[in-house]
Symmetry: C2
Subunit: 386 residues, 2 copies
């Protein structure tokens, strides 16, 4: 029983953390509840018109599947659903008309063949990356609607009845999509584009705080005999290493969004992906530096520490100034202004030159340093091998 | 018109490439078509029993949404759909019975409240990572079914009729799931577990071929004045950098799969994720080494080339032996055997020692090398900053 209690407490803590990490999640949950209640209300009202009754349930279904966390997600699913339904319904009716020509016996076979071919072709199209990224949901709905119309319509041959049914179905779907869109745009909207914008800036800040931490701790005043623990450095940069899929899906959703705040409709979202790729490149180098420091900390000799003391102030300046430059860059992304010619960059260049000079003073000719480093990096790679 | 023609040709090439890259995709498309035709057949047959007619359409719907590329995906969606429907239907009927107690006027309000609360709670639960990874689809179906039952059942108060409807709905869903499962298990199955297994081994091979390429090209016999192009090295290792999300989703799906081939039901899939994380770590170091080589190629001095000639044979041995060790590791993962004490590892250790010795012979005391390298790596990080 105690074990069960501990589990419940653990779960409660986790739930609280999920809500605290991003309070918009709580708001989103209530938004979904609200949209569903609204569409239920629509169902009750439409039930007054007897004809609309069975179709109205499609509005409820639409709200459940279309409502997404971001505006872009809701919009892309809503548009995908609406247009895929229209296209598939038209094709389905067309296929049915052709199948009728084959006579009573040939009809089911011909319809089965149509369903087979269209489903196979549509499923295959989902493997094409561009379609997968933008129209995946639409393709599912397309197959769904086409099969439903083609298969079930051979019972209701009356063309007028069929059109009426299609009209009802589509108008209820449009109503469902409209309810979702209104809820997600007008009640505390979560814009994918804004999230992408903030994510890219935040990632730069994480890189910056790693560099500042490195400057303060590793090259700080306390350089001495005691060993550095890798835990002293800000570890946040590690999350940048795997940011690719998140950034790409946000950029995909952002493309659907209308203009909002500082962002126009055709805001160059792809540029964010470029900055993101550069940030990852930087994070890879940091990770390599980090693993070099932590694996070699234990083998440092007194001579090593001696040299470290010599160059530590230059290195400290280099990394702290570089961190500041990154923070400025992050801030200028945040405020969407062009960063000025940065005084930090000048400081970094000066420090780099000083560093090279002091290394060659110490008897390490910088001419052959590069090859030596390449060799050492290779050893590092070799050490990584599990 | 020519532009249009070029586009069509481009699309055709892309489609061909998608199919050629993995022919199982073509097979999967036909499998979906087959399953849908099968379920349509079921629809025709069941139409003979008049009562089953409207419910049978749910089998078609189930096949379209449940059928996934891997067996694990189909199984997880099918189980999620079945159990979520059962649970939600029971809760929906219960909520309806409670709502009836509130009288004719209170009933819709109470039902609306239930829908609001349950939808909000269920939506929030999707933000918990564990639930998101395994039961995301189930939660959607839960909200969907609960809303449909709770909202629509207040028209059909007859309990017997309701039970009959529920029975029909659920048996059609089970039939749909069964058709999907049979198709995906018995016709050219794609196992997520096997894919994960192959992916992890292939990633190790990619790392190995980078090391071998580095040994052959950069430290090869041709070391001389000409500049190395980064294109000479195998670039495949770059895809390892972003392998995390792919590996994790495969591991999630593999957990649902029954035993198949060499893999038992509770195969330790998490171990693959560990190997994957180590591979990524290795790839990060390679990326850092790579960017170091390509950015510094142009500034190499004659003295540098001199040293490179001196140590190139040792470095060549190191990287080629390391590549071989990795290939052996990949092969032993492939055949699921424990790798023996590897003779390559001994060669690597020997080469590493030789390298250190020859570096210190060349006037670079290895004692202070580490600090110098740390400093240079820092410069590298600084250069990465956009």
């Amino acid at each position: 029983l105690n074990k069960f209690k501990a589990k419940v407490v653990g779960l409660a803590k986790k739930v609280k953390k999920v809500g605290k990490d991003d309070p918009r999640r709580v708001v989103h949950s209530f938004k979904v509840g609200f949209a569903l209640s609204l569409v239920s209300l629509f169902y009750y009202i439409s039930a007054l018109f007897a004809g609309f009754r069975t179709s109205a349930i499609w509005a409820v279904l639409t709200v459940v599947v279309v409502m997404e966390y971001t505006v872009g997600g809701t919009l892309s699913k809503g548009l995908n659903r609406t247009f895929a339904t229209l296209l598939a319904a038209a094709l389905g009716v067309g296929a049915h008309q052709i199948a009728i020509l084959a006579g009573e016996k040939g009809e089911p076979f011909l319809l089965g063949l149509f369903v087979f071919l269209l489903a196979a072709a549509a499923t295959f199209s989902r493997f094409i990356p561009e379609i997968k990224a933008r129209y995946d949901y639409g393709v599912t709905i397309f197959i769904l609607t086409f099969s439903l119309v083609a298969v079930s319509s051979n019972r209701t041959v009356d063309a007028f009845e069929l059109l009426q049914l299609a009209h009802q179905r589509i108008s209820t779907i449009v109503i469902g999509v409209a309810i979702c869109l209104l809820t997600s745009v007008f009640i505390c909207p979560v814009w994918a584009g804004e999230d992408l914008h903030k994510l890219v800036a935040a990632n730069l800040e994480k890189l910056a705080s790693f560099l500042e931490g490195l400057g303060e701790v590793y090259f700080g005043d306390k350089v001495g005999g005691e060993r550095m623990e890798s835990k002293c450095f800000p570890q946040a940069y590690k999350s940048v290493l795997n940011s690719k899929s998140n950034e790409e899906s946000l950029a995909n959703l952002a493309r659907w969004e209308p203009g909002h705040g500082h962002f126009g409709f055709r805001h160059p979202w792809k540029q964010y992906l470029k900055v993101g790729a550069l940030s990852r490149q930087c994070a890879y180098s940091m990770e390599a530096l980090m693993s070099y420091i932590t694996t070699n900390e234990r083998t440092q000799t007194p001579a090593d520490l001696e040299l470290r003391k010599m160059i530590s102030s230059t290195c400290k300046e280099m990394s702290i100034e570089c961190g500041k430059a990154l923070k400025e860059l992050a801030a200028s992304i945040g405020t969407m202004t062009t960063p000025g010619v940065c005084r930090h960059n000048i400081a970094i260049a000066a420090a780099t030159t000083t560093l090279k000079a002091s290394l060659s003073e110490e008897g390490i000719p910088s001419m052959i340093l590069e090859t030596a480093i390449t060799a050492s990096l290779l050893s590092q790679v070799v050490q990584c091998v599990p």
